[in-house]
């Protein structure tokens, strides 16, 4: 069985806020749900599947009740939690459920307020006594990946900086972007060192907000008014230090999720017109591009340099909303916004200055957890139908 073409993204919504001290987290979930349902042209009573992750207050029971979903109709739920890529996995799982007839209109929500208040500590597993004392954070866990990548492949800070430069070129056209100023390689290199070798501008923004999508059957999608966007391939994978054997931080679980998605879709990286790549840090993008096969392992630095990721300039337009590096990184989880901009591109609804011409095939890919410690990856291949 395949999910190829079995599910369509019929509604999308990205909350315009980046700072929401006046709202509750549950309220933000409701606002993005409402936005996505209205974008699809559906009603709340049409929802018969609901997906949320660790950012949803209390998880499924409280969220279903708070949102007032029709529990006589709701027949499929999923709270898969894989950090920032949860929503990419939700999209794949929603397609599986739809293909199996377990639901027909699935709602996926993400929302939260890390800028307003402290986030709950990351849950730890059996490794807690053997790792927590060493202070792994997002910054230094990704810093360790970058450090080893530079050591093994000669990747430079200048090359990493190009990723931020490209994101900033796109963000200038996004009225909601948190950082709208175009920056240069020098600006990135001159920003303060946070965790070697990552500078402040190698890091994504921290934003309140959220996003949501509606995933549905081909029949229902075709009955609605939005341009048709369907999922044609999905992959998911996990990676960790695995008992400390053959540790290699220069690649991610994307080396497995990517080929799974491309194989299902029957396309290759060369066919992709637009790429949404999770950009928690610049190194995240560089490693993912290699792992997904857009260039050879170790050649990511050369690939991203000189504007190759800038829409209208380079060969692979990426994160045309400004991405997590400049626009939005709601709840420190970038997977949802990666899907949303890919759908905008396929619909032809991206900003005219960054809209990719004849954009009929896109990838949305992300990782979740700590790339240098334990993480998940998920890849979605989306097509204009």
């Amino acid at each position: 069985m395949t999910i190829k073409g079995k599910a369509y993204i019929a509604g999308i919504y990205e909350h315009p806020t980046r700072h929401a001290p006046d709202k509750s987290t549950a309220q933000l979930h409701a606002e993005v749900a409402k936005g996505a349902i209205e974008d699809a042209g559906l009603t709340k009573d049409d929802i018969d599947g609901y997906f949320c992750a660790g950012d949803a207050p209390g998880g499924l029971w409280p969220m279903v009740d708070y949102l007032g979903l029709n529990t006589k109709k709701l027949r499929h739920v999923d709270s898969t939690e894989t950090g920032g890529c949860s929503y990419l996995i939700h999209l794949g799982h929603a397609a599986e459920a739809i293909a199996a007839g377990k639901c027909s209109v699935a709602l996926v929500t993400l929302a939260g307020k890390p800028r307003t208040g402290p986030m709950p500590p990351r849950a730890s597993g059996a490794e807690a006594d053997f790792e927590l004392a060493y202070g792994a954070t997002t910054h230094n866990a990704y810093g360790m990946c970058a450090m080893r990548h530079m050591h093994d492949y000669g990747t430079t800070s200048e090359q990493l900086a190009w990723i931020k430069v490209a994101a900033s070129h796109h963000a200038q056209y996004n009225p909601h972007a948190m950082l709208k100023d175009v920056v240069t390689v020098e600006d990135v290199l001159n920003s303060p060192m946070i965790s070697d070798p990552l500078h402040r501008m190698d890091c994504c923004v921290v934003t309140d907000g959220g996003g949501a999508m509606i995933v549905t059957t081909p029949e229902i999608a075709k009955s609605l008014k939005k341009p048709l966007v369907r999922l044609i391939g999905h992959g998911e994978a996990m990676k960790g230090p695995r008992g400390g054997k053959d540790l290699d931080l220069t690649y991610s679980a994307g080396v497995w999720s990517g080929p799974r998605a491309f194989e299902e879709a029957g396309v290759t990286p060369k066919d992709i017109k637009y790429a949404s790549i999770y950009d928690s840090f610049t190194i995240t993008v560089l490693m993912q591009l290699e792992d997904l096969g857009f260039c050879k392992k170790g050649e990511g630095g050369k690939f991203v340099a000189d504007g190759n990721l800038i829409s209208g300039v380079g060969k692979l337009p990426f994160n045309t909303d400004g991405g997590g590096l400049c626009s939005n990184h709601p709840v420190n989880r970038g997977g949802m916004t990666k899907i949303l901009e890919a759908v905008r591109q396929l619909r032809g609804e991206a900003h005219p200055k960054v809209q990719v011409k004849n954009c009929d095939l896109a990838i949305a890919h992300g990782t979740g957890g700590l790339l240098g410690v334990r993480h998940a990856a998920s890849t979605c291949i989306l097509e204009r139908a």
């Binding site: 927590l132 004392a133 060493y134 910054h139 965790s195 008992g243 400390g244 054997k245 540790l247």
Partner: protein
């Protein structure tokens, strides 16, 4: 680094208690599977490679090489160097490089285990050999 950073005592559990007991005697223990011969860290009852339950404790030399590191400069408790080091016996593990000029930590550098006290068992860290 003269000011001593305060670390929480390990919680421990029946599976890992022997590691922490040995730590109190200054011994750094790893686990080895007698079925597949592979060593692993952190210690598990069941081998994470071949899933055999024939795992035994083994004292590590405590000698290791820095695989990678990152000097975290934005921390309320001051800069610290997180790292992965690869033990002479094979397994790599997460740690901090301590008691040295953190600006001089390098990939490939030889390091050795040192212990830092807690209210319970001490915690293993690594310092230039």
């Amino acid at each position: 680094m003269s000011e001593a950073k305060k670390y929480n005592a390990p919680v421990t559990n029946p599976e890992t208690a022997p590691f922490w007991e040995a730590a109190k005697a200054g011994k750094f223990m790893i686990k080895r599977c007698t079925t597949c011969g592979e060593a692993h860290y952190f210690p598990r009852a069941i081998c994470p490679f071949c899933f055999s339950d024939k795992t035994v404790w083994e004292e590590s030399s405590g000698e290791a090489t820095v695989y990678t590191y990152s000097l975290m400069r934005k921390s309320p408790t001051g800069p610290y160097a997180i790292a992965y080091v690869t033990l002479k016996e094979g397994p790599s593990l997460q740690t901090n490089i301590v008691d040295c000029d953190l600006e001089k930590v390098k990939i490939g550098q030889k390091v050795k285990v040192v212990w830092k006290p807690t209210d319970g068992a001490p915690l293993p860290f690594f310092t230039p050999a």
